[in-house]
């Protein structure tokens, strides 16, 4: 082992970012990676650790770099769950951070919420509890860790060339809504930015930070398309078209493209009509899917420091990978919206 060797801990190592980062760092000379996650993965040597508890013995050593990718990225969490997953986990992490440890904390480009800053402790200043909890986490890591880099990605999709993703979150909810016949229309600003980035574009930036000589000066790196990001009116149809192509290739009926509705028209006309006729389950699904709405109305670009180019075209391969991975969902039959009066199969 040379003097330049670095021991790197990746939290959230079985998640979307953690898996790809581990792949990127594998085989890099002088970098020795250990992964940990709540569930662990013995087949890949990932150590199980619930970060709200004390770290296990095998993780108690000197770390040169800790990349904190662990997070619960659901937009529908209640505040308590979001706090436990995205804030309290930093307590466990703190026990492993030594005087020379460079902490690379993965946040989100949307942690600045509605005000453009992470400083507000008020939930109302954020679009959801996820953003709110990630903002609070940023404030805490800034206070605690002397050697810090914060990385803020926009909406992460699968790998650029093949769509591979270890987990599906964020924009995949649109695909899920279409596949379950729950989204006939989307409240969206057609010219809003839909800032998606391939996961490997993000992990390339993180890997460069890990390998750099700098031990972290509190810099914030925002990895996003910024003004180069696609627009909703382009990205969503691309995603749904790719999914439909996948279905047609398998002899399945394609879904209709969800209509993009002005948010005002959606609230005034579509929703009241829909509410009147939907089944209980469709009501629930619509409520859940509304969590993505704010991300389809962002007319200001993400202020990117590390600009990801040509990301919109990657949504197609990501949609196909999603369908390949979850064929049971992707091959569901098209179900027309129907009245709540339609009788359901009763319990015995």
């Amino acid at each position: 082992m040379s003097a330049a060797d670095r021991h790197v801990l990746i939290t959230g190592a079985t998640g979307l970012v953690g898996v790809q980062l581990t792949l990127d760092l594998a085989g890099v000379p002088g970098i020795h990676v250990t992964g940990t996650s709540r569930t662990g993965d013995p087949s890949r040597g990932v150590v199980p650790w619930d970060m709200t508890e004390a770290p296990p013995t095998e993780l108690r050593r000197r770390w040169d770099v800790i990349v904190n990718t662990a997070a619960d990225v659901r937009w529908t969490m209640d505040a308590e769950v979001a706090t436990r997953a995205n804030v309290q986990t930093i307590d466990g992490l703190t026990e492993l951070v030594g005087p020379g440890t460079h902490v690379v904390h993965i946040s989100t480009a949307y942690a600045t919420g509605r005000t453009g800053s992470v400083e507000s402790p008020e939930l109302v200043d954020y679009r959801n509890t996820y953003e709110w909890s990630k903002a609070r986490a940023e404030r805490i890591v800034r206070e605690r860790f002397a050697h810090l880099t914060i990385v803020r990605p926009s909406l992460i999709i699968g790998r650029r060339h093949d769509g591979y993703a270890a987990r599906f979150a964020g924009m995949y909810v649109v695909l899920r809504g279409v596949a379950s016949s729950t989204i006939p229309a989307l409240p969206a600003a057609a010219d809003a930015y839909c800032d998606v980035i391939p996961v490997d574009d993000l992990t390339r930036v993180i890997a460069e930070i890990v390998a750099a000589e700098s031990t972290g000066t509190g810099q914030v790196r925002t990895v996003a398309g910024g003004t180069a990001a696609g627009r909703v009116a382009d990205v969503i149809p691309r995603m749904v078209s790719a999914f439909n192509d996948w279905r047609v290739e398998r002899g399945l009926e394609p879904f209709g493209q969800p209509r993009l509705l002005d948010p005002g028209a959606w609230d005034r006309f579509f929703l009241p009509f829909a509410r009147e006729h939907l089944t209980l389950r469709q009501h629930r699904a619509l409520d859940l899917l509304r969590t993505y709405e704010p991300y389809l109305m962002l007319t200001e670009p993400v202020p990117a420091t590390d600009v990801v180019e040509n990301a919109p075209e990657c949504v197609e391969v990501s949609a196909r990978y999603w369908a390949d991975t979850l064929p049971r969902l992707a091959t569901m039959p098209l179900r027309p919206w129907k009245s709540a009066d339609t009788p359901a199969r009763s319990l015995a």
Binding site: T39, R74, T76, A166, R167, V173, R176, G177, A179, S180, T182, T279, L280, R281, R284, A285, L288, L289, L326, R328, L329, M332, P333, T342, A344, R345, S346, L347, A348
Partner: protein, 92 residues
């Protein structure tokens, strides 16, 4: 209804139906438990989210050709055992 030697282990389902149901459940989640038991929480233990729970119900309906199961009961499902019982009652 059940030919399983211990039907309580499968929520009243036949062993074959329980295996089909388990396959559906596992095909839609990323966390794979060592053993499928009634007590497993679909969100906490298997990684489903709220939307995923609705997708799971739809997938079960498609797999077992059920049309639509009772909505109120379906929305109360939290565990593997809840889903097994719902399916057993619906099939019964």
């Amino acid at each position: 209804m059940s030919d399983h030697p211990n039907a309580t282990l499968t929520g009243g389902l036949t062993a074959a139906d329980a295996a089909r149901l388990d396959e559906v459940i596992l095909s839609l989640c990323f966390l794979k438990p060592a053993e499928m038991t009634n007590g497993l929480d679909l969100i906490g233990d298997l990684g489903y989210d709220s939307l995923g729970m609705l997708e799971l119900i739809s997938a079960v309906e498609a797999e077992f050709d059920l049309g639509e199961v009772d909505e109120t009961s379906a929305l109360q499902v939290q565990t593997v055992g809840d889903l097994r019982r719902l399916l057993a009652e619906t099939l019964g």
